[in-house]
Amino acid sequence: MSANDVTVKVEQLTRVFGSFIAVDHIALEVGRGEIFGFLGPNGAGKSTTIKMLCGLLTPTSGAGYVGGLDIMRQSEEIKKSIGYMSQKFSLYDDLTVEQNIDFFLGIYSVPKARAQERKRWALAMAGLADRSGTLTRTLPGGVKQRLALGCAILHEPPILFLDEPTSGVDPISRRNFWNLIYMMAEGGATVFVTTHYMEEAEYCDRLALIYRGKIIAEGSPKTLKQSAMSKDVLEVEVENPVEAMEALDAAGFEPAIFGSALHMTVEDGAIAEPAIRQALADAGLPPARIQKIAPSLEDVFVNLIEVS
Amino acid sequence: MRIARVFAVAKKEIIQIRRDPLSMALAFLLPLILLFIFGFAITMDIKNLKTVVCDLDKSEVSRKFSSDLSASGYFKIVNPSVNYRDIERHLDSGAAKIAITIPRGFSEDIRLGKPAQIQALLDGSDANTATLAFGYLSAATDMFSAKISPRRSAPAVDPRMRVWYNEELKSRNFIIPGLIAVIMSVIAALLTSMTIAREWERGTMEQLIATPLKTTELLIGKLIPYFLIGFIDMLVAVSVTVFVFGVELKGSLALLLVVSAVFLFGVLSLGILVSIITKSQLPASQFALVITFLPAFLLSGFMISIINMPYALQMITRIVPARYFVTIIKGIFLKGAGLDLILSDLMLLAVFGAAVFAVANVKFKKKIT
């Protein structure tokens, strides 16, 4: 990525709360038009990082640049050129849809010439063109969240920070939401997303996996699954998953039930397979269908955590 | 009902109270603070009230009147012979709180056996003091009347306002025992009113109602710790009243404690009922304050005499439980009243407590609506 294309850059970024290290010397770079995912469980440091990048929280140490602006010294300017959607929607429940849009138009000082156009766009995006007078409180989750996104980018910022934007939202709405994000990225916007939902991370171009304040891996979903995962994941299809699990547990494996199959991570699939068949046979269970499957991001994550 | 579950709730509540410094302070410090502030700061007694006398009669009798006033200790005559014109200036500047004008012909009227009048101008900006001052003045003039014409049955000067009187003219004696009732109400208002609402707000109630725990067990379990706190506060308040403020407890301590327990039960249940109805802490505590503390303070008769109130308000006081508690407390403290005298009021308190608890029990639903 050439220097011109780097829109977000962070070096040794750290944030401490008392004795608790929320963000521990992280470094990353995000380019223009890229969808960058920040993946990790609750409490790992995602929200804290995003808040620092948005100028809402001062870092304890380290450096960061958003759109070329210094997060330590130019936090106010940064706020003007980014869009930020927080974890719990930032909309006012007791205002109507239109009133919320008007409010944010004002907050972001969208010039009058553009305001009407942007309002129309936001309403259309959320599917609320004919319902602008509806009370925000009554909107279903998925719609609210599209509206919140719309309000966050009324001023067409080049960089977008989304903090757990699809938390608890149904899969269809989630997909629609991501289609919007794709559209924006194609328009050249940089999108920085945090999520704890491993499968959602698959929508991103690149990911950083964060755990306990540290970045434990970075790369595209594909590379992560290939290179960060030294082990194989096997799927063992059986008729009685619970008994099979007991047998394999006893044999030293760590199987997890997935419906009617078992998944397990092993050092080497080729070596493990016969051992698995043996264990099942010893327990008097019928033979199983064993195949290697692609690791999920969760497998990758667990593997990385256990390794560190 | 399973006692084990009741105690489980009580134990949990106690652990939480102990771990929260704010509620501990509220529970134990606040009552003491209130007691000391009201006990010491509110003095309803007057001594050395700055007085000016405009003696237009300039007779021996009028001078005697002035000196009697002065001798009573309540009035400090800063100027015994002020000009009528200067009275206003004295009152305005606060140099005097009361200006007494003895008209020309005062002694003549008395000699002739006619009613003699004096004019008293009071600094009404402090209504309490003014009222008291007038009361004392009335009493003083009564005594003077009696002295100069013992044969008269009607007093020479007709008191037009009442005096808040007690035998020793020591207001502490009747304020502080009543104060205890107010303090107990504060505990209920602030502590119990939030306990149920807090669990709804924090999400722990949802988990709780999915268990076999019964409503009655929950309510009693929650009452127990606050009851203990209230009772301790009660003991401390009584001790302070007797040993620090020197108010004599003429009646039985045991009876006092029994009555307190009954009152506490009622007022704590009221706090819990508020918590059940409002379901959210902030309005709960405010609402509870309005329902328990304010009536206890204003309408129980602890400081503001009920009989002085407009009739409509007097009727309202009948449903203020603190009113009965105050009556009983004063009775036990000041008159040494025994069970026989206070029984009807005590019964009312008991009924109130039981009724409120019953309502709380019914109102609380182990359901999310």
Binding site: N42, G259 | K367
Partner: protein, 308 residues
């Protein structure tokens, strides 16, 4: 009104909140010992179902039976047989782990002689033993959920109702959690779990898809995934989004979704694949690979919902 045969059963369960119909005739039958996943759009449905089943909410109409007892008629009768975990953390943050467990042990009147062994096992299982004297508020999200589960299990219930128990939890804790659930299944416990995550639903014995208050499908994950009735192909390409736009609407294409660097395409038949690849090549979209896959539950859910 006949006897309920299943361990968990609902009949035409309806719940309205004003105009919102959270449940609109739910008919559920879960046999003893099953691990059932209820998935669906966020909103009232799933949580409402669980609340009604645990006796803490009244339905608008309909019946619900737990272990043969009508929970709508007599909720108190079942409460000692069920363990319920609310979506929001429901324990006392100002009490320690041990104090919380003991409190619940008291509420369920667990015999004192039973307690030490049981608590030790529960804590050990959840890796909470070193934290037993820590205030619950000081635990990480994952540990909190495990504590919640421990308190729901202290009285060894027959039925477990878990409302989105692994939301935002770190992957390692999530695995611990599921291991505990599998162990319970061995003991014959019936588990009803709700989740917004379809990948988690894959672990269940059967899955019910709840949409607009009704179940639109109830079956094993495998059967659901195989019910598309059309082959699905995964095409790996850098330009997934462009590819999606290109392919969508082309004859023979039933559905296409972009996931990061992959396209999932539902085709009329496998013959169409060569056509698709040719189209992509003609438009200069590089294809790294293409293979037939089983649709994911998410693919299925969306297809089922959109079909209705």
């Amino acid at each position: 009104m006949g006897e309920a045969e299943s361990e968990i059963e609902t009949r035409s369960l309806v719940k309205h909140f004003g105009v919102v119909r959270a449940l609109d005739g739910l008919d559920l039958k879960i046999p003893r010992g099953e691990l059932f996943g209820l998935v669906g759009p966020d909103g009232a449905g799933k949580t409402t179902a669980l609340r009604i089943l645990s006796g803490i909410m009244d339905p608008t109409s309909g019946e619900a039976y737990m272990a043969g007892v009508s929970v709508t008629d007599d909720p108190e009768a079942v409460k000692d047989k069920i363990g319920y975990m609310s979506q929001r953390f429901g324990l006392y943050e100002d009490l320690t782990v041990m104090e919380n467990i003991l409190f619940y042990a008291d509420l369920y009147e667990v015999a004192r002689t039973e307690r030490p062994a049981r608590i030790e096992r529960l804590l050990g299982f959840s890796n909470l033993t070193p934290f037993k004297d820590r205030l619950a508020g000081a635990l990480s999200g994952g540990m909190k959920q495990k504590l919640g589960l421990a308190c729901a299990l202290i009285h060894t219930p027959r039925i477990l109702l878990l409302d989105e128990p692994t939301n935002g939890v770190d992957p390692v804790s999530r695995r611990d959690f599921w291991r505990i659930l599998y162990d319970l299944l061995k003991g014959g416990v019936t588990i009803l779990i709700t989740t917004p995550y379809l990948d988690e639903a894959e672990r269940c014995g059967r899955v019910g898809l709840l949409n607009e208050g009704k179940l639109i499908v109830v079956d094993t994950p495998k059967n659901i995934k195989n019910s598309l009735g059309a082959p699905m192909v995964e095409i790996t390409t850098h330009s997934a989004r462009a590819g999606e736009r290109l392919i969508r609407g082309k004859p023979g294409v039933l559905r296409v979704t972009a996931y990061g660097d992959r396209l999932h395409v539902a085709l009329e038949s496998m013959d169409r694949l060569t056509e698709m690849l040719a189209v992509m090549k003609a438009n200069n979209l590089p294809v790294d690979g293409a293979r037939e896959i089983t649709p994911s539950l998410e693919d299925m859910f969306i297809s089922l919902v959109e079909r209705k």
